[in-house]
């Protein structure tokens, strides 16, 4: 019994430590297609792009088409919350390009002189109301979110989507009484798709990406808070030529087209 108790105690302690350090990041490196011979790119090598979680769909597509246009180039992607990524970069994670969901997090990197050049704004995003497909609380406007019988979920003011919600609250004088302040926009969306919440404030692009699982309700007050997405090559990049080319690709016509299709607006 003593052995097993000790074992379990040890196991529990190590579990606790592991649980405390759990982080959420995912990376993927789509296979490049070698069949494309249309371009004559001289670039070869591989880069790692750190991008905000809300860019997952668009940047996965863009990386694949960038690889297709440059057959000798591999693009590895890592998606997480912008502030998580900034922390990883300042702690020395090997990234070549960083695309942030807000200028505040990019500023942290420029302040620390970790970017190779001035960041370029490549997209903007605004908030939209997400409701379950049957819209059980009949939400139709931003003001409806403040009603006592509407279970509204928003981001905490500490994260960009929450800061944007707060900005709109201040501008409109409507005070929301959320039942939960989540730490990421995906958590807000999750509470709405599961039907736990009657409404949530997420980005236009999140609703577009969620497809039929939620219904989006646009509101004019959303223009009070526009999130700007900057991108930059990082100073410690060993493949700065490819990194610069990728940044140009995102800010160029192809990139802008893909982003617009996903619901992003131009900066």
């Amino acid at each position: 019994m003593r052995t097993s108790t000790r074992f379990i105690a040890g196991l529990a302690l190590s579990l606790a430590v592991v649980a405390g350090t759990a982080a959420c990041s995912s990376s993927s490196s789509p296979d490049s297609s070698s069949s494309d011979t249309a371009t004559t790119s001289s670039l070869s090598g591989s880069i790692t792009v750190f991008a905000a979680a809300s860019l997952k769909g668009t940047f996965t597509d863009l990386a694949a088409s960038f690889e297709k246009a440059n057959p000798d180039v591999k693009v590895a992607l890592s998606f997480a919350g912008s502030s998580d990524l900034v922390t990883q970069i300042t702690e020395g994670a090997p990234a070549d390009v960083f695309a942030s969901a807000d200028t505040k997090n990019m500023t942290k990197l420029t302040d620390a002189s970790l970017t190779a050049s001035d960041p370029v704004n490549f997209a903007t995003n605004t908030l939209e109301i997400a409701v379950p497909t049957d819209n059980p609380a009949s939400v139709a406007s931003f003001q409806d979110l403040a009603k006592a019988d509407v279970k509204t979920v928003i981001c905490a003011p500490a994260v960009p989507c929450g800061a944007a919600a707060l900005k709109i609250e201040t501008a409109t004088g409507v005070t929301l009484k959320p039942v939960s302040e989540e730490s990421s926009v995906t958590d807000v969306l999750g509470k709405v798709t599961s039907g736990e919440a009657d409404a949530g404030l997420v980005y236009v692009t999140d609703i577009k990406a969620a497809g039929d699982t939620v219904k989006g309700i646009t509101f004019p007050e959303s223009s009070e808070a526009v999130n700007t997405y900057p991108i930059a090559t990082l100073k410690d990049s060993k493949e700065s030529a490819i990194a610069d080319a990728f940044v140009a690709y995102v800010t160029g016509t192809v990139g802008q087209g893909v982003l617009a299709d996903a619901g992003f607006a131009k900066p």
Binding site: A12, G20, A158, V179, E181, S194, G195, E196, A197
Partner: protein, 289 residues
């Protein structure tokens, strides 16, 4: 008695080296975190309103979850250890599943059960019980992940303790509930205590299931781990300071239990059985060894 004349090591040296490496792996990150603490502002960081709210909420919900774990975990351990029925092995494996399940999956499963659109959600709504985004949801999530810790440690202890004393007591006419109260539970009390402490510690650290299932609102559902996760976004100093608080609370809880000797006192307690058993049962019970 005579063999202890010379000091000997039961463990080969290379095992000790590996053990030391393992210990470093576990402890070094904690030390590294402690070096990041901004001691100048430490007091202010951990006594901010949101921090205190989160700590109190964590303690309150973890205590509730531990009570629930004892209420349901002790009967579960007894049934698993003392009865046999078809499918018992499978059931044991399933009951212990939350131990190895990623907490976020636990959260999704709880949503499917207790959520507004879950299996039991409608029933609760009819009864007027609101679980979504309430402190109840936090306690449910913590109980779900912590329960196996109590069951697994208590069941093991019950098996090791054996059924001899129980059998003797019942041949002397003690009813099952009397046997449970006066023989079985006193025998495994140390394991029950350490199991309860492990459950408490697990509940205190619960993050994934709470985040998925309960939401995050100051004073209602934002427990200390959720507060740390959120603070990290804007104020890494506060996140590190609060992490240290959580580590200290966890160390205190585990340390106090080991210190009171509840884990090691198992064998020493046995003679006391003679005292707590009724006079007519004393003889047989005390002769058991």
């Amino acid at each position: 008695m005579t063999r202890a004349t010379r000091r000997y090591s039961a463990v080969p040296r290379w095992v000790i080296v590996l053990a030391a490496l393992g210990a470093c792996f576990t402890l070094l990150p904690l030390v590294a975190m402690a070096t990041r603490v901004n001691w100048g502002d430490f007091g202010a960081l951990i006594t901010s309103e949101s921090s205190v709210d989160a700590l109190l909420l964590s303690l309150r919900t973890s205590v509730s979850a531990t009570v629930l774990c004892v209420v349901f975990g002790v009967p579960m351990a007894l049934v698993l250890a003392r009865t046999s029925f078809p499918g018992q092995r499978v059931l044991r494996a399933l009951v212990l599943l939350p131990l190895v399940l990623p907490p976020v999956i636990g959260g999704i499963a709880l949503l499917a059960t207790f959520g507004r659109r879950g299996l039991l959600g409608h029933t609760f709504e009819v009864l007027g019980i609101q679980i979504a985004f309430s402190t109840t949801a936090v306690v449910i999530a913590q109980t779900f992940v912590a329960l196996p810790f109590l069951v697994v440690s208590l069941e093991g202890a019950l098996r090791v303790a054996g059924t001899r004393y129980e059998a003797v007591a019942s041949t002397l006419g003690a009813r099952p509930t009397t046997v449970l109260r006066r023989i079985t539970l006193p025998l495994v009390l140390p394991a029950l205590l350490s199991g309860a402490v492990l459950s408490f510690a697990r509940a205190l650290g619960e993050f994934g299931a709470t985040l998925t299932f309960a939401g995050s609102l100051q004073g209602v559902t934002r427990t200390l781990p959720l507060e740390i996760y959120l603070q990290r976004e804007t104020d890494p100093d506060a996140a590190v300071a609060l992490s240290l608080v959580l580590v200290v609370v966890a160390v205190l809880v585990v340390g106090l239990t080991l210190r009171t000797g509840s884990v090691d006192a198992g064998l020493a307690r046995r003679p006391r059985l003679a005292v707590v058993t009724p006079a007519r049962e004393t003889h047989s019970a005390a002769d058991g060894s």
